[in-house]
């Protein structure tokens, strides 16, 4: 590991490319969206941007993963991996949050969320020639995660939000469901508590989306900023420090953050939907 890092550092020192002369470095530029293919339907802007391309690739890979890992004819190592993923989705995500009667209906949703977010997150740490910039007509390779855009995570959180209330109303009826939001407290402080409870339902939406968005954004920012220190301070020899530091953060993100965030999003979705189906009161 250390030898490989040394080789990378030496390679960077040996070939200081023309990119070092760029001077101004702003890591937030990596997250700007430029439409590649403009699609405008009235007021709707459905242009194909970098994030959309990453999402499409992620969706394709998720389907491919499901087909190759779960539909195996001869039992082998591939099936073992598939069963491991299935077991995590079943025991750690679905059974923790969902009541028994709703598992068969909502297990596919939470398991898909987990796999899809994991794939999109993971795709964000694989360098792809999709940065939209060219250097002497050769596409620049870069890392970017679709989940580091608030629109993507907010859309996913909105799905959970809508399903939560839909299921709550479907299983309990509207009156019983909305009454379950009101806790058993003295009548005098009800005007204080009820707005807080309603606000809490919307805070779930915000916290669910911000958590994933900010985690991925901060992870990419950290790596980019560390590498970018070389350009900001215009000193090639900083590579000895910043490349190992960026690599360490990269490994931390890939091993821990990517999987944890996918798991958490699915687990919290299961818990929210489960708590709407079976309110405590």
């Amino acid at each position: 590991m250390r030898a490989r890092l040394l080789v990378v550092a030496l390679a960077v020192l040996a070939f200081p490319s023309a990119a070092f002369a760029r001077g101004e470095f702003d890591p937030s530029k990596e997250f700007e969206q430029h439409p590649w293919l403009g699609i405008h339907l009235g007021p709707l802007d459905l242009s194909i941007t970098k994030a959309v391309v990453y999402l499409l690739i992620g969706a394709g890979l998720t389907m491919l993963m499901g087909i190759t890992l779960m539909r195996v004819k001869v039992p082998g190592r591939r099936q073992a991996v598939g069963e491991m993923i299935y077991e995590v989705a079943q025991t750690q995500v679905a059974e923790q949050g969902l009541p028994h009667k709703a598992i068969s209906r909502w297990f596919p949703y939470v398991a898909t969320l987990m796999l899809f977010i994991w794939t999109v997150n993971m795709l964000g740490f694989i360098p792809l020639p999709l940065s939209g910039e060219t250097y002497h007509h050769v596409p620049v390779w870069g890392i970017y995660a679709a989940t580091s855009s608030i629109s993507v995570t907010l859309a996913l959180a909105l799905l959970t939000f809508v399903f939560t209330h839909y299921e709550g109303i479907r299983w309990n009826g509207p009156v019983k469901y909305f009454r379950s939001w009101i806790p058993d407290v003295p009548k005098a402080i009800l005007p204080l508590i009820v707005p807080l409870e309603i606000l809490g339902q919307f805070m779930r939406l915000i916290s669910l989306s911000i958590r994933l968005f900010a985690n991925m954004l901060a992870g990419h920012m950290l790596i980019l900023t560390f590498i970018g220190l070389m350009f900001v301070l215009e000193n090639v020899y900083l590579a000895v420090i910043v490349v190992p530091a960026a690599t360490a953060f990269y490994i931390f993100e890939v091993i821990i953050v990517v999987s944890i965030q996918a798991f958490i999003f699915a687990a919290l979705s299961a818990i929210y939907i489960g708590s709407a189906i079976e309110p405590e009161h």
């Binding site: 750690q92 958590r211 900010a214 985690n215 944890i260 958490i264 687990a267």
Partner: protein, 87 residues
């Protein structure tokens, strides 16, 4: 040395102040979350040491708690960035 001080005093102090505020805000936010995450993993180690057979069940709760606590830093980060960009 003197040149640096003069340059600092005559430079864009508003921008400098905002940068310091952003860094301080995120730093203090991480401090709280760091304590919280330490607590979670400490309790996890203690409970697994007492009852190793519960490890599987506790692990799910542990990661849930970890993510919920960790997210607090990012609320601070987003708030700080918003303030830095908008104000």
């Amino acid at each position: 040395m003197l040149h640096t001080v003069i340059a600092a005093a005559s430079g864009d102090t508003v921008k400098a102040g905002k940068a310091i505020a952003l860094a301080l805000g995120i730093g203090l936010g991480s401090l709280g979350a760091g304590i919280g995450i330490g607590n979670i993993f400490g309790s996890m180690i203690q409970s697994v040491a007492r009852q190793p057979e519960l490890r599987g069940e506790l692990q799910g709760i542990q990661w849930l708690g970890f993510a919920l606590t960790e997210a607090v830093v990012f609320y601070g980060l987003i708030g700080g960035l918003l303030a830095y960009v908008l104000v």
